[in-house]
């Protein structure tokens, strides 16, 4: 793509855009300003911090993988298939976006808890309990974060030119081959953007996690839970933990962006 001379941002866009940046960034500035920089070293040296951070990164990444494996096909069904009740299905998929996460956590109990619809047979026959385990953290995060991925990918699929898929079909490719060889590469930036959104949401997940997975250092205490509990005891420690979580998540996102979206950032939905 050749560069045209930059005509600048029109004023009616520039002013609200600057306001939006201020609105989004100022709270972050507040955290940075109030952070007890002198005691940040000892705060970070606490073993619980590394433990919680590691758990957060692992569970959020697992939740993103599960969301990709299940969510991309779901997005395809919503965007491309002609099954009846698609709009109802789409509304149902977005329920976790509207549901307060704590309620989501209770709902997960009612299904997967040891008295739940599926959880009771699991517990009684196989002795498996899901709540209060790291698995429960991944499930809670997936429940809350997957809709972000599904909606992103569905949007990308709808925006993608279906004629490429039609052409593949005329050339004799079946729908699965078409999906794999044509559709997936076509919407890859959309999938990447959705995955990033999903990962970020999973990383910040609090309500469903603390309800369904509980809070125990090492197994279920993710960074947001550690931040919340630190706030009960020592607000300055909570600020430090929040900044750590922010720095790590921003760093990861920037790194991934350079690697995955670097060349494609000028085009498509991911930009």
């Amino acid at each position: 793509m050749r560069r045209r001379p930059d005509p600048g941002v029109p004023l009616p866009l520039l002013v609200p855009a600057l306001l939006a940046v201020a609105f989004l960034v100022l709270p972050l500035v507040g955290l940075v300003v109030r952070a007890p920089w002198s005691s940040i070293g000892p705060q970070l040296a606490q073993p619980e911090v590394g433990q919680a951070l590691r758990l957060s990164l692992v569970t959020a990444s697992l939740a993103t993988v599960v969301s990709l494996v299940l969510g991309v096909p779901l997005a395809w069904v919503l965007a491309r298939s002609r099954i009846r009740g698609r709009s109802v299905l789409r509304a149902l998929v977005t329920v976790p976006l509207v549901l307060p996460p704590v309620v989501g956590g209770v709902a997960l109990f009612l299904v997967l808890g040891r008295n739940g619809l599926l959880g009771r047979p699991l517990y009684e026959h196989l002795g498996i309990t899901i709540p209060f385990t790291t698995t429960a953290v991944v499930i809670a995060e997936t429940f809350v974060a997957m809709p972000f991925l599904v909606i992103s990918v569905e949007g990308a699929l709808r925006a993608a030119d279906a004629r490429f898929e039609d052409a593949a079909a005329t050339l004799g490719a079946d729908r699965w081959t078409t999906f794999r060889r044509v559709t997936l590469p076509l919407v890859a930036p959309g999938i990447a953007a959705g995955a990033v959104l999903c990962w970020a949401r999973a990383l910040g997940e609090f309500g469903a996690t603390i309800t369904f997975a509980g809070n125990f250092p090492g197994t279920t205490q993710t960074m947001p839970l550690a931040v919340y509990l630190a706030l009960q005891r020592d607000p300055e420690a909570a600020i430090v933990l929040s900044l750590v979580l922010l720095a790590v998540s921003l760093g990861t996102l920037l790194l991934l962006r350079d690697r995955w979206l670097g060349r494609g950032s000028g085009q498509g939905i991911a930009a």
Partner: protein, 269 residues
């Protein structure tokens, strides 16, 4: 400063007919209260009460009562863990009354100089073991919290119920084996109500409030860690008159009876 505030609220105190932040009202004073407050309706505006989560039901009822007596008054509650409330208050959250589930978080507020008058202890609460109906884990006493095979919930040590639990365990020489450290006492109780844990360490009042889904098991070690509940009107109260009226209502015979019905104990100190 403190004196002038006391003078400001004096007419209301007289109208409700009770003593200020000092302690539970005497029977005669309460008698005056019921007769004069029936004339009521002097208070107006919005009353904002920050109260420990364990007070949700009792204070909700007392708030309704105050609103019924004062049709122009709207009582708003912010129920949460005492430490979260103390943080909100020191960060400048507007409130008229603060009721804490322990002295420590009240001290956070008084250290910041936010109180209008010295806080008064208005009730007490003790820990109790909550088990799901039928006690599926066969929990009998505090010692069962050392059993790693049971699914157990306690409050996180950062919140008052968790601090009390830790102290009780330490006194009894028990190494607790919880599966989850809950962010507040209601969250711990919810997991008992859902039957997802075999036992949780909560307050006697929480067991009372949970109804038939939950059974309570009192244990003698709990007497080591009795929680005092202090209350006070705040200096920056937008509606100090209504705030004082609420504090007085809590300390009146009617308020103390409501607290007792909910499983609280009268203050002994």
């Amino acid at each position: 400063m403190r004196k002038s505030r006391a003078l400001l609220v004096l007419p209301v105190v007289a109208a409700v007919g009770l003593t200020a932040c000092g302690g539970p009202a005497s029977g005669t004073a309460a008698g005056t209260a019921s007769s004069s407050s029936s004339a009521g309706g002097d208070l107006s505006g919005t009353l904002t009460v920050f109260a420990a989560a364990s007070l949700t039901d009792v204070f909700g009822d007392l708030g309704d009562q105050l609103m019924a007596e004062n049709p122009d008054l709207d009582v708003q509650f912010n129920f949460a863990g005492s430490s979260a409330l103390a943080t909100q208050l020191t960060q400048g959250a507007p409130a008229d009354v603060f009721a804490s589930a322990n002295e420590k978080q009240m001290t956070v507020v008084t250290d910041a100089g936010l109180q209008a008058a010295d806080p008064a202890v208005f009730t007490e609460n003790v820990l109790e073991i909550a088990v799901p109906k039928g006690n599926p884990g066969n929990v009998t006493g505090l010692a069962d919290f050392g059993d790693a095979d049971l699914t157990l919930a306690v409050c996180a040590a950062d919140v008052p119920c968790g601090a009390a639990a830790a102290a009780v365990f330490a006194d009894a020489g028990i190494t607790a084996q919880p599966d989850t450290e809950e962010e507040d006492v209601k969250a711990a109780l919810t997991k008992v109500q859902l039957g997802e844990v075999d036992a949780a360490l909560v307050y006697a009042t929480d067991v009372q409030a949970a109804g038939s889904d939950v059974e309570g098991i009192p244990f003698p070690e709990a007497e080591q860690e009795v929680n005092d509940y202090p209350i006070c009107v705040l200096k920056a109260a937008p509606n100090a008159a209504a705030g004082q009226a609420f504090v007085d209502l809590v300390q009146s015979d009617a308020g103390q009876q409501a607290l007792a019905d909910a499983g609280f104990r009268a203050p002994t100190s």
